[in-house]
Amino acid sequence: MVTVALDADFFHRWMSAVSAAVDREAQRLTELDSAIGDADHGSNLRRGFAAAVASLDEERPDTPGAVLALAGRRLISTVGGASGPLYGTLLRRAGKALGDAGTVDAARLREALRTGVDAVAQLGSAAPGDKTMLDALYPAVEALGESGEDFEAARGAAEEGASATVPMLARRGRASYLGERSIGHQDPGATSSALLFAALADTAGAVASGDDGEAA
C-alpha cells in the first residue's frame, strides 16, 4: 500500500462504514449481549453511530481530529449504555491526539488510537484479559505495525482478539456478576470493536483501489 494522507473525508467514511457494520450486525451483538449482558449492545450502538453519522453529515467537520471528536461526543450523548462513554472516549481522545491537522498519516492515526485505547482502559479500570473491548482493541492497534498501514492485519487481530474472549472469565461490567458462567461466551464489546477495525480496513481498502466514493 502506498502511504496515503488521511483527510477528514476518509474519517467521515470510516465512521459511516462503522455505522453500516453495526447496523448489519446489531442482531448478533444483541444476541451475544443477551447471553452475558443486558441485551442492548446492538441497539445502543446502532442508535449511537447513526446519530454520530447524522451529525457528521450535517456539520461536515474539516479535520480528521474534529471528525472523531464529534462522533465521540455524539456517542456519549446518545448511547445510554456503557458502550457510549467507552467508544465515545476512544474516539474523542483519538481525535484530540490528532490535533487540528488537515491530513494525517497512518502512523499518526495508530498513535492516536493507542492514546484512545489507553483512555478506555483507564475509564473502565480494565486491562487486557478482563473479557472486554480491550481484548480486541489492543491487538488491533499493535497489528497496524510500524507504518500504521497494516489495516488488514489489524482487522484480523481484532477478530482473533474478540474470539479469544470466549474462554475468558469476565472481570468488568454486568457480565462479571456471572462469574464462571461468563465463560464460553464471546464478549459483545470486543465483537463490536472488531467491527470498528473491519470498517477501517474496508475504508482504507477502498482508497487503495481508487474506489473511495469520491469523484475522480
Binding site: D40, S77, G80, G81
Partner: protein
C-alpha cells in the same frame, strides 16, 4: 450584611441510576430522612431520556446544573454506564466546576450525603460522609 442573615450555599447532590424510578425514590427518601434542616438541592438523573433503563448524559448535565449553588455538587451513581458516563463527563469538563463523583453505596451514600449537606458542610465533608457509608456492616 449581618452575620445571622448570611446564608452559605449548600452542596448539591445528583443521583444517577439506571432507573428513573430508583433515582427519584432515593432522592425522595434522602430528602425525607434529612428533614428538619434547610432543603438540600437534590436532583435525580435516572434512566435514558426516553424513560428506559440506562444512562442519559443530558439528564446528568441538566441535574448537575440545577443543583449547583456554587458550593460544589456531589454525584452518586449506581453501576456500569452510570459510573462511566459521569467519569467521562467530568474528564471532558461537561459538568459544573466543583462537581465530583463520590465513591459511595448508592442508597446509603445518598442519605449520608443529603443529611450532611443539610448541615451546611462543604463538598469534602459531604463526600466523606457518603463514602463512609461503606463502613457500616449489616451482618
Amino acid at each position: 450584611m449581618s452575620a445571622d442573615r448570611e446564608e452559605r450555599p449548600l452542596v448539591g447532590v445528583v443521583l444517577v441510576s439506571h432507573s428513573r424510578q430508583v433515582a427519584e425514590a432515593v432522592a425522595h427518601m434522602a430528602h425525607g430522612l434529612a428533614s428538619g434542616g434547610p432543603s438540600v438541592p437534590v436532583a435525580p438523573a435516572g434512566g435514558t431520556g426516553e424513560g428506559g433503563l440506562g444512562t442519559s448524559s443530558e439528564l446528568i448535565i441538566e441535574a448537575a446544573r440545577r443543583v449547583d449553588r456554587g458550593a460544589g455538587v456531589a454525584v452518586l451513581a449506581d453501576l456500569g454506564s452510570a459510573v462511566l458516563t459521569v467519569r467521562t463527563l467530568l474528564v471532558e469538563g461537561d459538568l459544573p466546576e466543583g462537581a465530583r463523583l463520590v465513591d459511595a453505596p448508592f442508597v446509603e451514600g445518598a442519605v449520608a450525603a443529603v443529611v450532611t449537606a443539610s448541615t451546611g458542610a462543604d463538598l469534602e465533608a459531604v463526600a466523606a460522609a457518603a463514602t463512609e457509608a461503606y463502613e457500616y456492616r449489616k451482618a
